[in-house]
Every structure is written in C-alpha cells, then in structure tokens.
C-alpha cells in the first residue's frame, strides 16, 4: 500500500501543494518539447519526401552549428556566418542527392538508412578535421539572442523563465509555421506531398524527384541549423549533441513518421512527459529515468496506435 500511495497519490498531492513548481516543470517540458519537435521535423521532412530514415540528422545539427561557430571564430560577422552556414547546408543537400540518393534510388529503406550512417561517419570526420573536436560556445550574443531570466510570481511562487528558452520556443514555432505554410500552399510544397504519396505517380506528372530531394535535404539542413543554434545555446556545441537526435526518435514514432503536426504534438508530449516524470516520479526509482521514459511513453502509445498518433493508417494486403 505504501508503494501504491507513493506512486499514485503523493506526486499529485505534491503537484497540488506547489503549483508554481508544477508550472516551472511544465514550462521546461514545453521548451524541450518544442526543441525535440524541431529535430523531429528534420526527420519527418526527409522521410516524407524520400522514405529515408535519416540517421545523419543528429550530426547535421552538430555540423551546422559547428560551421556557424567556426566561421564566426575565423572572423566572419555573425549574420554573414549564419547565411554561409545555410549555404553549406545547401551544398550538403546537393552532394547527398548526387552522391548517395541517386545511385541508391529504389533500394530498400534499410539500405538507405545504412547509407545515412555512412554519411554520419563522413560528417563526424569532416567536422572534427575542420573545426576540431573540442566543444565550442554558441555565439548567442552575436546572433542577438536574448539572455538572462525573468522571474514572475505565479500561483504563489517564483517561476523562472530563461529568455533564451522563450526565444527558442518562439523561433521554433515560427519555423514550424513557415514550413507548414510552405508545404500546404506553395507549388514546391504540393510537389513534395505528391512525391510523398507516390514516387512513380509524381514522376509521371513531371515532378523532378532529384530537385525535390535537394529541396527537402536543404530544408532539413536549415531546420538542423536552427536546432543546432538553440540546443547549442543551451548546452554548448559538441559532438555529444547528436545524442539528442535519438531523443527525437520517440517523438517521431509518437507523432507518426509522416506527419508534421504529429512531430510537434509528439515533441510536446515527450518533452512534458519526460520532465514531469523525472521530477515527480523519478526520485522513487533513484533518478535518471529521463533516459528511457520517452521511449516507454512512445511504446505505450504505439501499443494503442501502431502507426503513431497522426501517421497514415497502415493497411495490409496480401
């Protein structure tokens, strides 16, 4: 009974007693959820258009951020460095399309997945060769990202808001909104959705697959750059950052591989669930449960809906 009380009742009592702490936890979960969603978005973009599960997304985040910081350290003004980092991602998109995707067209998914692992190795080596392996500081100041904190008294206690977190949430939301509009309203966006539906049908109405692939990889690169700036500002730019890409996996699964709104909602569920779980139930198990909680949340959702919350319904035929 004691255990049941501790698991089922005490955390909620604690939540009710200290609503300001609950709010703080919720806010932190929200911010990390938005950032998870941003990384998951990079996966979704590529998966939708080319059916490739891009293992290299995590390293693309690191690589983009490293390029930005590296260029700035070489004396390039911050905003120009930002543009140049974008250009590097465009170059990468062209290279990936030409060297990896085109020769491997029509291969099984798992082979393309493997190819992106090769790309990961290549980018790790290249990034370390050019910029060195040591962790770097993100140039938050030069990019006009706000710093500092605001403390508000809400629900009877102080709740701390990092300005950077607010900015991250806003920027991520803007990016997501732009992408959503881009994919639903523009010509390229419609072409991309056609490709996602069926490669053959899209080809037959004159959509260039190669062009679409460059565009999505570029879009994923830009998303990676933004994610790199945001995560880099929170925890420094280093190669360990690619681990967060694995955190995007449950987000992705939760939302369904093919859905942009799914990625966002999945990100929020995982981000908030993880923080709440760690804060209220973590101590019962000795802490550190946020390493696997996200996966278990995703697993539970999956058992209920095997295609993810917003994924296309899986119809199986013989």
């Amino acid at each position: 009974m004691d255990v049941l009380y501790k698991v089922l009742i005490e955390p909620f009592v604690f939540m009710g007693e200290a609503p300001d702490l609950l709010l703080q936890t919720l806010w932190e979960g929200l911010v990390s959820g938005v950032l998870y969603a941003l990384i998951a978005l990079g996966f979704v973009l590529i998966f939708k258009a080319s059916g490739v599960f891009n293992f290299a997304q995590g390293i693309m985040v690191v690589f983009a951020a490293l390029t930005l910081v590296g260029l700035y350290e070489k004396g390039v003004p911050a905003l120009l460095a930002l543009v140049l980092a974008g250009a590097v991602m465009l170059l990468l998109a062209f290279a990936v399309e030409r060297i990896i995707l085109r020769p491997l067209v029509n291969q099984p998914d798992i082979i393309l997945f493997m190819a992106t692992f090769g790309l990961t190795y290549l980018l790790i080596g290249l990034g370390e060769l050019i910029f060195g392996g040591s962790p770097k500081e993100m140039i938050t100041g030069a990019l006009y990202l706000p710093q500092g904190t605001t403390e508000l008294t809400l629900l009877g206690g102080p709740v701390r808001f990092q300005h950077l977190d607010i900015a991250a949430a806003i920027i991520a939301s803007i990016i997501i909104a732009i992408l959503a509009v881009f994919f639903s309203k523009t010509r390229i966006g419609r072409a991309l959705r056609a490709v996602a539906d069926s490669h053959k049908a899209a080809l037959s109405v004159g959509i260039s697959l190669n062009q679409i692939w460059v565009i999505v990889w570029f879009a994923a690169g830009i998303v990676a750059l933004v994610a790199g700036i945001m995560w880099g500002a929170r925890s420094g730019v280093s190669f360990s950052l690619q681990i967060i890409a694995l955190k995007a996996l449950p987000v992705l699964i939760l939302g369904g591989f093919t859905s942009i709104p799914g990625a966002i909602i999945g990100g929020l569920i995982v981000g908030i669930g993880e923080k709440i779980g760690e804060f209220y139930w973590g101590p019962l198990l000795g802490g550190g449960i946020d390493t696997w909680l996200a996966y278990v949340i995703a697993l539970l959702f999956l058992l209920y809906r095997p295609q993810g919350l917003f994924g296309e319904r899986i119809i199986e035929r013989i």
Binding site: F53, I99, I100, P103, L104, Q107, P108, D109, I110, I111, F113, M114, A115, F117, G118, L119, T120, Y121, L122, L123, I124, G125, L126, E128, L129, G133, L246, L249, P250, I253, F257, L285, G286, G288, I289, T291, W292, Y295, V296, A298, L299, L302, L303, P306, Q307, G308, I314, E316, R317, I318
Partner: protein, 361 residues
C-alpha cells in the same frame, strides 16, 4: 579452373542437401578453420587480443542480430543491452557458483538474455518496421539504466564495474588477468564455430523457414498456418541468446572487465550496421560485416601514416583519427552503392564467376 561443379555427382538426397555442396567449398572451410586455429600459435598477442578476439565476438553478436533482423525481419536496436544482460548474468552466475566451469556459465547466461529479449519482443506482434525499433530502443535505454542503478548486479562493487575473476578450464586460466590471449582466442573461436554451426542448421530447417516466411510477408505467413507470436518471439529469444553469449565473451574474454557504458546505444548501431553491410539474411555476411566495420578502421590506422609518409605529410594522431572516420564513412557508402545487398552478395557473385572462369560462355 580448380573450382568446378562438373564431375561431382550427388547420389543420395542427403548429399544433395548438404550445406557445402562442392568439395572445394568443404576443403576451403577446413583450411580456414585450421588456419584460424593455427593463428593462435603464430599470431602476435596484439593480433589476437586487439583484432581477432573482438572480431569473433562482434561476428557472433552480428549473427545473433542477423537471425532476428535478416531472417525474421524484426528490426532491433537493443542488441547492446541484450549483450549486457548476458554479461551481467554471466558475472552473477560466475561469482555465485564459482565451482562450475565458466564455459557452462557463458553458455547459460545466454538464456537470461533470451528471456529478457522475449519480453521486449512482445510488442513486435503489433508494431512493425522502424516503429518496432523504438520498442527495442526502450529496452536498450531501460536495461542500461538498470545496469547503472542496480548495484546487486555487480555484487555491490564500489566501482560499479564488472571484473573478471580467475577461472580455469582443465587447469589453464581462461578468464582473469592471467589468461593468455592464446587460450582466450581458442575458447572464443571454438564457441563461435559451434554456435555458427548451430545457427546455420537452424536457419536451414523448419524454424528458419518460418522466420523467412514471416520476414517476407507476415500476413501471408499467418494465413499459411505459421503462428506469428511464437515465431517472432522465438526469433527474439534465439537472437538474444546469441547476443548474450557474445556479450559475456566480450566482457570476460576480451576486455577482462567492463562498465555499463560498453553496452550503450552505439554498440547496438555498430552491430546493426555490421549486419546490414555484411548482408541481411546471411551468416557469412555477419563475419564480413564484422571484419569491415571493426577491422578496417584498425587497418586504416596502421596503413594511413605509412601511405602519407612519402609525400612528406606528417600528420598528427588526431588528424589520422578524423581521416579514418571519413574514409570508413565513404567506404560504407561506396560498398552500398556497389552492392546494396551486402558483402555476402559480392562473395556469392565472386564464387559464381569463379565457377565458370576462365571461359564464362
């Protein structure tokens, strides 16, 4: 010219069904096994300890994952954790019952891993493909967390690490600091050969065919009367058994002690990529994959400085490390483009060509 099918007649059904149909193949295999044993006495300690033992261990783990992913079609990213279960189970058994031979415990520890694998294989009935990968990722992270948080697993060791107590086989130390690389290598080699033999018979028989049917289309397999739940869970169990044994071998016969960090997610990916690049659904591919992904970086580390030296490019160890990463990445992409079905397919094509060489018409 020496490798010909002509003139080798099969007069019984049994001879028609053997694994190696050509006597050249059988002779080749015998030579390879003999050479592998001979290496124990001729190879240097570095070769045995840092190259061959890890290669065999990884090959065994890759075979385990190949049974699951290549034959039964269930994607798993929890290999590292299942290896860990084997290692920790072996440690507990070894220290609780020190009188029983360690080889027995290494083989038994696989069953614990199989049980855990079956448990985490349960969602596979409902979840498929990349979605299943997340279920196994949950296993990976949850089990790794258990390795850190449950001190009972390491007998309340202060360091929290696994150590290898001295254990002997016929009076010769096998596990522990005093065991020579030679004895370790021979033990690992023997176990890997036996387990590979078991696996090759498993996949050729009824069970293997059920797995392949489920992989190719589980719905159709179900309609044909194959019970999906049992088949998939059996695949998880057998695969985890192999991984568990590989994990136990890795800790006690290669590292001689390890921390939980050895069984992290990178290990899982590493083994998955060995399986894919070696060839899904091919046992020999697992060996090729392990060789490519594990031995190639070592070779590059040795070869690169020698190759660059004549150009007067003296480069630091760090740069070599980075170049190594880049070359390995480029080679993975290159091999996939040349032959997406893995090195095993290349091997097969090579053998086919050799059969008709030098007159291919």
């Amino acid at each position: 010219m020496l490798y010909r099918e002509a003139g080798q007649f099969k007069s019984t059904y049994a001879s028609d069904m053997v694994v190696f149909r050509l006597k050249e193949d059988r002779a080749g295999l015998a030579v390879i096994i003999l050479m592998a044993y001979a290496l124990a006495f001729m190879g240097s300690d570095f070769l045995l300890q840092a190259v061959l033992i890890p290669f065999l261990v990884f090959a065994l783990a890759a075979i385990g994952l190949n049974l699951l992913t290549g034959y039964a079609g269930q994607l798993s990213l929890g290999t590292g954790a299942f290896m860990g279960v084997g290692a920790y189970a072996c440690y507990k058994l070894m220290t609780a019952f020190p009188d029983i031979n360690v080889i027995v415990w290494i083989l038994v520890s696989g069953f614990f891993s199989a049980a855990v694998g079956t448990l985490f294989g349960l969602p596979s009935l409902r979840i498929k493909g990349f979605y299943l990968a997340v279920a196994t990722l949950a296993a990976q992270f949850f089990l790794q967390w258990c390795f850190i948080r449950i001190p009972w697993l390491v007998n309340y060791n202060v360091s929290g690490a696994l150590d290898a107590p001295l254990r002997t086989l016929f009076g010769v130390p096998v596990v522990g600091a005093t065991a020579t690389p030679q004895t370790r290598y021979i033990v690992v080699l023997t176990l890997v050969i036996v387990l590979t033999w078991v696996a090759s018979n498993l996949v050729r028989g009824r069970i293997g065919r059920m797995w392949i049917a489920v992989r190719d289309m589980d719905l159709a397999a179900e309609l044909m009367g194959i019970r999906l739940l049992q088949t998939k869970l059996l695949a998880f169990a057998v695969s985890s058994y192999y991984c568990g044994v590989a994990g136990a071998l890795m800790v006690f016969l290669w590292y001689g002690g390890a921390e939980y960090d050895v069984f992290n997610i990178n290990q899982s990916f590493f083994i998955l990529f060995m399986v894919i690049i070696g060839g899904l659904g091919s046992l020999i591919g697992s060996f090729f994959g392990a060789a490519l992904i594990f031995i190639m970086p070592i070779l590059l580390g040795i070869v690169l400085p020698i190759m660059l030296a004549p150009f007067g490019i003296a480069i630091g160890a760090e740069t070599i490390e980075h170049l190594r990463f880049m070359i390995v990445g480029a080679l993975i992409i290159f091999f996939l483009i040349v032959e997406p079905h893995g090195l095993a397919r290349l091997w097969q094509i090579g053998k086919q060509k050799l059969l008709v060489w030098p007159f291919p018409y």
